[in-house]
Symmetry: none
Subunit: 413 residues, 2 copies
Amino acid sequence: MIVELITTGSELLLGQIINTNAAYMAKELNAVGFDVVYQTTVGDNRERMQAAIVHALTRAELVITSGGLGPTRGDITKEVSAAVFGRELSLNEVCAERIRAHFDRVHRPMTENNLRQAMIPAGAHVFTNYAGTAPGIALEQDGKVIVNLPGPPPEMKDMFERSLKPYLQRKYGFASVIVSRVLDTFGIGESKLETEIQDLILTQHNPTLALLVRPTGVIIRITAKAATTEVADRMIAGVEQEIRRRVGTYIYAVDDEPLEEVVGKKLLAQHLTIACAESCTGGLLTSRLTDVPGSSAYLMGSVVSYTNEVKAAILGVDRAVLRTLGAVSEPVACQMAEGVRRCLGTSVGVGITGIAGPDGGSAEKPVGLVYIAVAGLQGTTVEKKFFTGTRSQIKFQATQTALNMVYHSLIHR
Amino acid sequence: MIVELITTGSELLLGQIINTNAAYMAKELNAVGFDVVYQTTVGDNRERMQAAIVHALTRAELVITSGGLGPTRGDITKEVSAAVFGRELSLNEVCAERIRAHFDRVHRPMTENNLRQAMIPAGAHVFTNYAGTAPGIALEQDGKVIVNLPGPPPEMKDMFERSLKPYLQRKYGFASVIVSRVLDTFGIGESKLETEIQDLILTQHNPTLALLVRPTGVIIRITAKAATTEVADRMIAGVEQEIRRRVGTYIYAVDDEPLEEVVGKKLLAQHLTIACAESCTGGLLTSRLTDVPGSSAYLMGSVVSYTNEVKAAILGVDRAVLRTLGAVSEPVACQMAEGVRRCLGTSVGVGITGIAGPDGGSAEKPVGLVYIAVAGLQGTTVEKKFFTGTRSQIKFQATQTALNMVYHSLIHR
């Protein structure tokens, strides 16, 4: 079943609101096996809307609009849809009665223009609006269907779920389900990852594979289409296994579980505690760790040591090393990690020192240079990284790398 | 100037991501007087994408796409655009060199597929991508223009602002300008604010006034449309003056300058330093303060004291008070603020202790209860707050309140 979505409204065309309706409808329709191949947005302009619907009917069997069903003169979607199929509108008494009852209920007088919402094209299926006043409709002709849904997202979603889905299931049956599974990776770039699994991406048509770059790393989305969820799950499992065989070492979670949560679970399961000494990340790592409910069970505390004095006085970093090698150096990162571990008496200590920019870089120590150390039961490991981007992006990448290092120190125990 | 926007990508068609690019581009184009009359979304399918671009050119003079410029085989937008105008692609050495330099900078090997991004249609204007690797292009033919921008929003926005807007201004000129000014408030609710300036909202048509609720507080947006920026600025200034006369005490910034930046400037100007002792906010306050470039001039460091032991051992909070009144109490907040100020030798100390939830609340100390103290040159002030929302929302509101308290302690000196 080929579907086109048409979202209407000047606010969308002017960019005053973001089009969440299109994403919602697309996701729901794809999940039951319908193919959304185009989405169009058009304003409250009779001629252009009519052209958009007529054009959509040339390339889709089902055209679903949202928006333009309200009481004002700018609300023209039903009239335009009726015109496309050559139908007349007339007042639907059941709809009119519902609208009158609504105004009684909220103790407000009903202005006459509200009855425009009860004008229904001849032969339409009517969808009651349980979350507002404007009813929706479905118009069938020559094997094609036009559906009009309201624009406000709560009304659209309620009607989609309660009325449109049952209507579509009765009319077309739901051929399939679409199930997606996300593999969250870190430490491998998009192009490298593509090279590793290129043959799978090219040959797989069901499940399909897609790579997406996120601030947290690259994700691999496996999407299967099948008659039932069970079958789809089995299809995904087969591809997932092959991907894990090749690049499993980079996969830290499924379905976008945050890395701080993954690390928290490992710490909890192994009865370990953690503390951080942060310089250029300025507390962001600790803040991410404490975003996880229950993190007080393993996160004891942290020290943000922005100055050399704090690094030396609280964390015990060697003043001579700070003087000779500078704060952004490998030994300082290690001493920060070890110092905060000792000072707070935890199993694991993390130390981060670097240059978040935009100023403060040099040829030898450029903006984006960050040293990250993890001190644990098997000693201390340290990594030297070069990050790019804005100050906030560099901070975030440093925390993601630190979490990943802690994660690997915990799974390899 | 009639414009059509084409956003591409399976993630959009499948509803996996929301189309923020279309809203951004529409808003920016409308602001300079261009008419966006259609927005279309199409997948990474050669035939359908080509049909969409060809159809768009029948009804618009300028067609702007976003997405599909990356290194993978699914990235076909430039090829399809070139095909529509009958152009060949070839490797652009300048673009290729930039991509190689990027991989050098991040010390990672470049896989060959990355050079696909440097394949440029004959005769294209090239837009450098300063926020990523894939360049954008503009193709002109028979009075029509196709522009290809990258899909990731930070890259698209950067290129739109730096390269596309100047290109469009040179080519078409800008008919009118829309200028907005945002007044950022904190400490006053939306309905109270609306009551205070209701008459202005109702009577103003140009400039218009809008209230929007943000996590940082309620903002007042003043928007004027005029022939030139100067005229629009003057129109805005008049309304702003009247708003400030009524609710100026709640306005801490204009145009969404973050409160941490406002506070940072005050500290810098007054040659003061700051340190934080954070419990329930877990480092978020310090992380926000260090998001500001140059914050190392006034932020000395912080202690995240998640346990009572850290509060007592490092910050010197009275163990007897912790035992009798508990960690979430007014005296503990004050002693944390005073302790971190003393310990790090700063002018200002901030102490935050509370219950971020979702667990750990009681009838007496519910989730959302937070004490915030600021210790400064004129002694210590403390506030007791009840926040609502998720764990992250409670953390954020506590940091915003703390920053606002520091801000007021600095402007009232």
